[in-house]
Symmetry: C2
Subunit: 670 residues, 2 copies
């Protein structure tokens, strides 16, 4: 383990450091118990960090910025929320700030578990269950959801509990039996505030007297399937007999001219720092800033149904323990981390990120048809993956690094649809019936990818580039000409997509010697429908970032989260979210900018998405666009059968020498 | 080899059959020599074919439709073009039709080679070269392009030759030295019609006196690189120790509940027939119908620069001979075919299609966070791939079959940019300078994917489905509700994309028992900018299909090609292309329809695309959307390390038993 002195200011916190932080803060409040929400690394100010990182890369000797942490915590049993900063080097508390009473901390596991128990054992809830005539062989399951907001009211911190019932098997799908009432609990008192009857018909009407109706369940767990598994899938094995192509030094990773640092935080999960290709600077920091999931059912209380999965829950704390050969295939490097629990103690987040190489098809090819000379390389890709479980849903987040200096952010949605009860024979226009009595409402997932660029340095600008047909006139007499038109966004602003538009981050002071134009990286992302909620709705007010696919702001330290630092039951004050930062109209030309990309998935469930959803994949690509002088993958070696040991299906008894090994093959049945 | 009697009516032609066709036709014209353009399989009328295919699938005994071929040919040295149909079973010519004089056959290799030679040895061309002072160590290369059209004139069949110069190495990049004049040749007489001086400045001005200026070349071939290859890429090997998961019977392929027939034609290349999943009908025929590549430089003669890569050239004839471990990695099945040459003789198209399995990440996953039960399957994908070289460019066409009944058409563009000469210091707004003296003009690639669906049978309809916010009123007081709205296209028509729109093929008579709605397959494809040329331009008139991303027509036999059967120098007559078929306003509701998807890539070259372009990938997904009752991949077995032998990077000396084998690993340097 690295000594404190050698630890990098960006390295995730260690178990010792978490204890150090919580001990220091407990000592500051000897008379109260603390309920820790977050203990996490506090990155140095950018003005301090950038020179350090540059010197580090270039072998210079810049003093290391102090290693710091921050913590968000309550005084237990109260609504008093504090934000503290701790210097780990000096073992001292830099500051403690009591936050305004309308700001709330996010959900945490310990609190959620206590609320679940409080809910399903509460006499009022038990009375409702009895009235509903739930059979004894089914167990009640409580999913505590962030309460959200549908009015101006400054309510205490609440949870909205959605209830389900399940059979005893550990893989049983409780989402197949949603119950028609929903308790609201006060998080501090753990008391039931009210029990809301859910609408179960085709409209807003309520049925207060419904009782349990059995139906044939749809299960996803293999042991619960009525049909046997398919048996005709043969093993596929990825070998790297000479080892992997990457190197790792702590959290510093190098692969195929790429160099970057891996980070991991409670809230954002996987973070990339100081990304360069072939020693040229590309990105200072890449992170998942936020993710909002609003539901489209207009009926009360679904009108509130929405989650900020990053701000209300946390992508780091929700990260799965990834398993060899399941979440990742081939030769795998796992990264493990520690996070804090509510007592301020370290909890292992083992295997929260995996890293491996894949073959991604052809890299580039050309055949000179006159001479028959074939040039071809395969595309090798480095994958960093993390998977989070947020209640019913799973999200896979991946960075794919390619050899041509392309960096691809891939998001996959899988897991189980959020379900609601529906009466037999009823249908609704805002949802899909996926089983008898089970409706999956339409919803959206709007992710915010925060891109802090350093395209050949700090002085960057953000442009919209459109392809525009020339008018059919004397300069274009045949009507075939088209050109590009560029709009530089000189002040902080949102920016919309268009089928003909490419967004680019440019550096006007670095000119590509072939094209004669400023170097640029383009952001390629499909044009998508943005937030469907009304701008005057609370969803709209709380998630302004979700209305536009792109935003550019001038960099300021501490502005990391598109919907603000405190999203739980948030009541935006128009100063602390991306909308507010853009409204400042800061200069964003030839300066230190941040680009925010809102990635929207409008998910109107299919029957095929149930009882578990095949991965739905979105890809955002950051690609050089006049950044390099020529194809940066020109020097990838020609692909050969000798190096990858590919074989013909017909060579049923082939024995080939690969990487010094002899590998027999069984006979093929063809 | 299959006997004639056992050959399937959809199987590609054999060498014997090509000889049979050409012999029969030569015998019909004993007094003239024939120049064959195409000899290809002629598929049975759909009304005859469908019952045969259904009976075949169900083990019934429907008589086999006769096996037929068609041929397009000239009387050598004339402009007389004929279309013949031949019955291979009866060994007889069914019909010969002399085509209208304005219709032209496509390019063919034999003709192109003769034209190249005629061009570069023509005294007028040699005189121009001498005037240009091309050094002796450089060889002139001629790329004959389809002449295209920029006026009403009914010209003879011409080629527009673009000239380049190259060093002697077989991998030398001649596109790095484009010459500033372009001969036009008459294809029949092989004579030079004119030599056109190309504009090389920032505008339309011509420089008739320019002479060769040397510059530092950019080469893509490995042997010509100034920098050594990167050396840190370790081998990655895919093993299938128990063999592959597919079975092959002739051209019938089965894999993971999929069943389909593979076809291959001169013009379209790879074709899929009779595609079913789990014995349910999905698609009758899937094919690349057309591909148009117009250039955006408005100056003469670039105003004509455009190619129909399918209609003018042919995707089958241009297919590469795919090499093990280069174009395909793992355990590979190759399919070889024969095509005809201009003498009507068979020519091998070896390894024109490859098929193999890949691991494609996670299929679906859910963790029950209460019980810790993890369910996860990996996604195995079957890949069918073909690659074509069309002059400077390469296209990779792939069908990816997944286990959740999704079928994905992937197109990759690679190869070399089409280049044009440009004066030192000049720039143009319709192109990118990629090297000194070398400009790569903006252009588009508009593919047409022809989808002949059989979603649960023949009676299909095509719908647009939009997600629409509800008005903020008493039914939606919180402003969060949204619903879908459906527009059924009841008569043949184009249809546009929108960020909020999903296009679906539905069967109104087949109702999903979970959702209560008609079964459907959705077409997912990013919203793209369509043809930028003016609708009144010749590009626009000749490629009407390229103005709209979707079209639906009522099926008619013989309507396969979106820009018409005869695209070479085409002068559309408004009866024989997709625009005309849509204009018929045929009923397309609950009937046998065809859906056409125009896939557009607006390619404004990057410096990184030169001297060879990293693959740019587009994906169109055909996915069930309320077709199945539940996730069709539920029965994929849980993924385990035991079956895929994945390992930890740290297990440097690990020996694991995988599929009965013992595979040592070398030590890792980490």
């Amino acid at each position: 383990m690295a000594t404190l002195a050698s630890r990098h200011p960006l390295d995730p916190l260690t178990a010792d450091e978490i204890i150090q932080v919580s001990s220091l803060l407990k000592a500051k409040s000897p008379d109260t118990s603390l309920h820790f929400k977050i203990i996490t690394i506090l990155e140095p100010p950018k003005a301090q960090l950038r020179p350090f990182l540059i010197a580090e890369r270039n072998g210079g000797t810049q003093p290391r910025p102090p290693r710091k942490a921050s913590s968000l915590y309550y005084h237990l049993g109260t609504a008093d929320l504090f934000l503290a900063e701790v210097n780990l080097d000096t073992n001292s508390v830099d500051s403690i700030k009591k936050l305004a009473p309308e700001l709330h901390g996010q959900n945490d596991i310990d609190e959620s578990m206590a609320l679940r128990d409080a809910c399903v054992t509460h006499p009022k809830v038990l009375a409702e269950l009895k009235k509903f005539q739930l059979p004894d062989h089914l167990e009640v399951v409580c999913d505590p959801w962030p309460y959200g907001r549908d009015s101006e009211k400054r309510l205490p911190r609440y949870v909205q509990c959605y209830l389900f019932a399940r059979a005893k098997h550990p893989g049983s799908n409780h989402y197949d039996t949603p119950l028609p009432f929903s308790p609201v609990l006060d998080i501090i008192t753990k008391d039931v505030v009210e029990i809301i009857r859910l609408p179960t018909g085709s409209g807003p009407e309520l049925n207060h007297d419904s009782v349990f109706q059995p139906h044939e369940t749809k299960e996803y767990h293999h042991e619960l399937q009525k049909q046997p598994d398919r048996t005709d899938l043969k093993p596929l094995i990825v070998h790297q007999p000479e080892g992997v192509s990457f190197t790792i030094d702590g959290y510093l990773i190098k692969w195929q001219k790429w160099r970057f640092r891996l980070g991991f935080t409670w809230r954002e999960g996987m973070v990339l720092h100081d990304v360069t290709y072939d020693c040229r600077e590309l990105f200072h920091r890449l992170s998942l800033s936020e993710m909002f999931v609003p539901y489209g059912d207009p009926r009360y209380p679904y009108s509130r149904k929405s989650v900020f999965d990053v701000g209300d829950i946390g992508a780091g704390v929700a990260a799965n323990n990834l398993a060899l050969g399941c979440d990742c295939l081939g030769v795998i490097k796992y990264f493990s981390f520690v996070i804090s629990n509510s007592q301020g103690k370290p909890v292992d987040k083992s295997n929260a990120i995996c890293m491996h190489e894949i073959d991604d098809g052809i890299g580039w090819k050309h055949t000179n048809s006159r001479t028959g000379a074939v040039s071809i390389v395969r595309s090798r890709v480095l994958v960093l993956q993390t998977i989070i479980t947020v209640g019913n849903y799973e999200y896979v987040f991946m960075w794919h690094f390619d050899q041509a200096a392309g960096l691809h952010y891939k998001i996959q949605a899988t897991g189980i649809l959020s379900t609601a009860p529906i009466d037999s024979g009823a249908t609704v226009p805002w949802g899909t019936n996926v089983n008898e009595g089970v409706m999956a409402p339409f919803h959206q997932h709007v992710f915010s990818l925060r891109i802090d660029p350093t395209i050949d340095g700090d002085k960057n600008s953000f442009i919209e580039e459109d392809s525009v047909a020339m008018p059919m006139d004397e300069k274009n007499p045949f009507g075939v000409g088209y050109v590009t038109e560029t709009n530089l966004l000189s002040h902080s602003t949102p920016s919309d997509s268009a089928p003909n538009r490419v967004h680019k981050i440019i550096n006007s002071s670095s000119i590509n010697k072939s094209s004669g134009k400023p170097v640029a990286y383009a952001i390629h992302s499909p044009t998508k429908q943005m937030l469907l909620a009304h701008p005057n709705s609370w969803h709209g007010k709380r998630a302004k970032y979700a209305f536009h696919p792109f935003w550019v702001t001038a960099h300021r330290d501490g502005e990391l989260y598109a919907a603000g630092d405190y999203t739980y039951q948030s009541h935006p004050d128009n100063t602390s979210d991306l909308g507010a930062w853009a409204d400042r109209k800061d200069k964003t030309e030839d300066t230190d900018i941040v680009v925010w990309h809102s990635i929207s998935l409008t998910h109107n469930p299919r029957t095929e998405d149930y009882p578990v959803m095949p991965c739905d994949t979105m890809t955002v690509s950051l690609k050089p666009s006049g950044f390099f002088d020529q194809n940066p993958a020109l020097d990838v070696p020609q692909s050969t059968q000798k190096s990858n040991g590919s074989r013909l299906v017909e060579d049923t008894a082939l024995t080939v020498a690969v990487g010094g090994q002899s590998c027999g093959m069984r006979e093929l049945k063809l």
